[in-house]
Amino acid sequence: MTTETVHQTISGNGIGQNGSSSRLNARIPAGPIESKWDTHKFNMKLVAPHNRRRFEIIIIGTGLAGAAAAATLGEAGYNVKTFCYQDSPRRAHSIAAQGGINAAKNYRNDGDSVMRLFYDTIKGGDYRSREGNVYRLAQESVNIIDQCVAQGVPFAREYGGLLDNRSFGGAQVSRTFYARGQTGQQLLLGAYQALARQIALGTVQSYPRHELLDVIVHEGRAVGVVVRNMITGEIASHTAHAVVLATGGYGNVFYLSTNAKGCNVTAIWRAHKRGAFMANPCFTQIHPTCIPASDEFQSKLTLMSESLRNDGRIWVPLDPTDSRSPDRIPEPERDYYLERIYPAFGNLVPRDVASRAAKRMVDGGRGVGPLKNGVYLDFSDATARLGRNVIEERYGNLFEMYERITGENPYYTPMRIYPASHYTMGGLWVDYNLMSTVPGLFVAGEANFSDHGANRLGASALMQGLADGYFVLPYTLADFLAGNLGQKVVPVDHPAVKKVEAEARDRTKQLLSINGTKSPEWYHRALGKIVWDYCGMGRDAQGLQKALSEIPALREDFYRDLRVLGDGDEMNQSLEKAGRVADFIEFAELMCRDALQREESCGGHFRTEHQTEDNEAKRDDDNYAFVAAWEWQGQGKTQTLHKEVLDFEYVHPTQRSYK
């Protein structure tokens, strides 16, 4: 369908006061931004300690958001069940975050504050996020660091024993706390250990190797989930007073991404098909510093932390035909293009800006490496200035990882890097309380759309996951539950539950019975290629229209020619994969449709038709300063677009400039 018809569909819906769809009430508290969250916390209802054990909460996903929420809610006295597809909650993909976590502590005395972190995040997100949510995130950032240190997270320290900081892209202050290049691992282990304590105490029941197949919505509320035990194949339902999805992002829609192999869109897509609106699915982040693909068998891409841009200098040879090894190319024949184009931020421009600049270099034939698909990230100046010891201390594990993968030693040869899909800012639409459009269904962390607008700043994903899990959900869930005191959970043998469960069983049987010729992996690669080509770093109407005709055809072929061997009542990784790919295919269509309707460039969404003279993203604030929230209308029908108009009271949208 064309964008025109999208707009027609919108006009059929009620429009609220500021032009937003009346179906979307963001519930941003009134009052000055500094006091919104405090006022809201006071106004929200509470559940008294002795009543908390009467409530059941289901949490899907045990990454930073899920594990932090589960540990906190279990500690508070609620009955919590957690589910994850990995064999232990400790393995969720938050673990792979390398660089760090932002917090407005101002320990460097360099002008940081909650207001500045708020400002940087809104600006970095290219003015497509909510002021209220982002300010709260900046406020809670400082509590996260306190909490994690108390748990024993071994953050980097100065010799005096106090915490160290580093700088990161998109900011002019040093506010990033880090634990070598393994910050995500250490933060997740902290949350996992807090969760493990609750598991031992019996407040949390943990179900590892369980995958969500569907969300149960009954009488307009989320009342439970259908899950599959990935070892026995048993499909069962669990019901509760509230369901939290903390299932991460959908970056694997590109097939090649820095996400873990298991990361998938299934939970949020199933919820979408049960009534939760999907917001801004076209906002995806392409991370600038990943190792370029080496061959066609590549199964995933590996990220090299953005923190490397602190000391590494990015360049390509001035002459596209220069085939000399990098150390033989003299200084004047190198183009340090980020430093040249963006002198104020240099190599530390935000991710979207750095990624597109790299793409322009490679597209212009100046790529380096055997496939000419990368740019250099060079540490020779920093090594000369700081000494090898300092470089080793800061980045040793990253250098080792690079050498393992490429066989090249970055202490002597510059790294080769290229952008790859890394994070997704879009996700299920949530209000200020992190509740989706389905009452009782909450969404936390990367799975929701809320805080990063059209582009996330480095070291802010960990901050958001933990803020949602430790400090937001425990309040907002209580507010929701308080109104339901005395209400029983829907029994698992209720016909409404059994119906959803039967549908999930049928889908599984269907995947097993097609008996075609192509593997789920084949379809995933095919989908990834379409999405990367037409809805990747650069997008245009023509390409998106093409994707919108190719994806349904791929879906049709999938249900005609898929081959899944083995049975459903045993461990069957092909079956798991097939279910995820089926959902990715449907999701990809919505992602392209969203990219097509957004006739502007902003953050990670770059419509080549809309760029400034010097190739930067050109926003259209008059027509597109809104959150696009899509409502499922049934299989084969086009989703309806609802708009939540964004108001900017404190940060006035300007053309982002990092020059």
Partner: protein, 254 residues
């Protein structure tokens, strides 16, 4: 390059397994070991055979989900490298490669190369944490930690919980895994209040599930994060000290 694979196939925990042999052509040097298995699986599927089940997730050597015995070595021939980070350039053309699941009574086989490592979670649940309810933390810089202490704690905290130490140990002991977590927490000032109860509870739970350590040192050699066996000595010392500390507490209570 070409490789000849001998892979353990087992339907589930209740059935017996056996080796199956496969030849794979067109393996590239740039491929990771798991990408080589991906290629094998695609070949098996197109030939109508069930693919080999194996665990992996992040494929960056940090989540600890992957891990197989490769020619008898946990995670294969490259030191300090998880299976997912091992690349085929470490093998020669025509290599014979035997691939087995972790071999330990504490890790029952789920299917083929996938095993159940949940006993490791039981050890963490027994005390591998610092009790710090959300919201109760003091300001972060109120707890200075000497850099050397923080670094030593970090070296231990780098454990990814993959279970290679158990698989490599002739006794199937989980001492390196347990010691790494104990050292991470017991070295830090924040870990002191629970230090003695932590070591006792974790060691006792470890012994319920795993074999005993007799200082072979295979764990350290197999560890993809190169965690030092010194931490086992640290754990043992804390365990012994804890007996005295606890006895004194009992005496004080009368």
């Amino acid at each position: 390059m070409r490789v000849h694979l001998k892979i353990w196939r087992q339907k589930n925990a209740r059935t017996e397994g056996a080796f199956a042999e496969y030849d794979l052509d067109n393996v590239s040097h740039e491929m990771s070991f798991l990408e080589m298995l991906d290629v094998l699986n695609e070949q098996l599927i197109s030939g109508g055979q069930e693919p080999v089940a194996f665990d992996s997730d992040c494929r960056e050597g940090i989540c600890g989900m992957c891990g197989v015995m490769i020619n008898g070595e946990a995670h294969g021939p490259q030191r300090g490298t998880a299976t997912c980070q091992l690349h085929m350039r470490k093998f020669s053309d025509g290599a014979h490669i035997t691939v087995e699941p972790w071999r330990s009574r504490s890790f029952p086989v789920n299917k083929d190369l996938s095993v159940d490592r949940s006993a490791l979670d039981r050890i963490i649940e027994a005390g591998g944490y610092i009790t710090a309810p959300t919201g109760s933390a003091p300001e972060a810089n109120l707890i200075p930690v000497p850099k050397e202490v923080s670094d030593a704690a970090f070296d231990a905290a780098a454990c990814i919980g993959c279970g290679a130490c158990v698989a490599a140990c002739p006794n199937g002991a989980a001492n390196l895994f347990t010691a790494a977590k104990i050292a991470h927490l017991n070295l830090l000032p924040q870990g002191q209040p629970e230090r003695w109860s932590r070591v006792v509870r974790m060691v006792e739970t470890m012994e319920d599930h795993f074999g005993s350590c007799t200082n072979y040192g295979e764990c350290q050699a197999a560890c993809p994060k190169e965690i030092s066996i010194d931490y086992i000595a640290y754990m043992n010392r804390d365990f012994v000290k804890a007996q005295l500390k606890n006895r004194r507490l009992i005496a004080q209570r009368g």
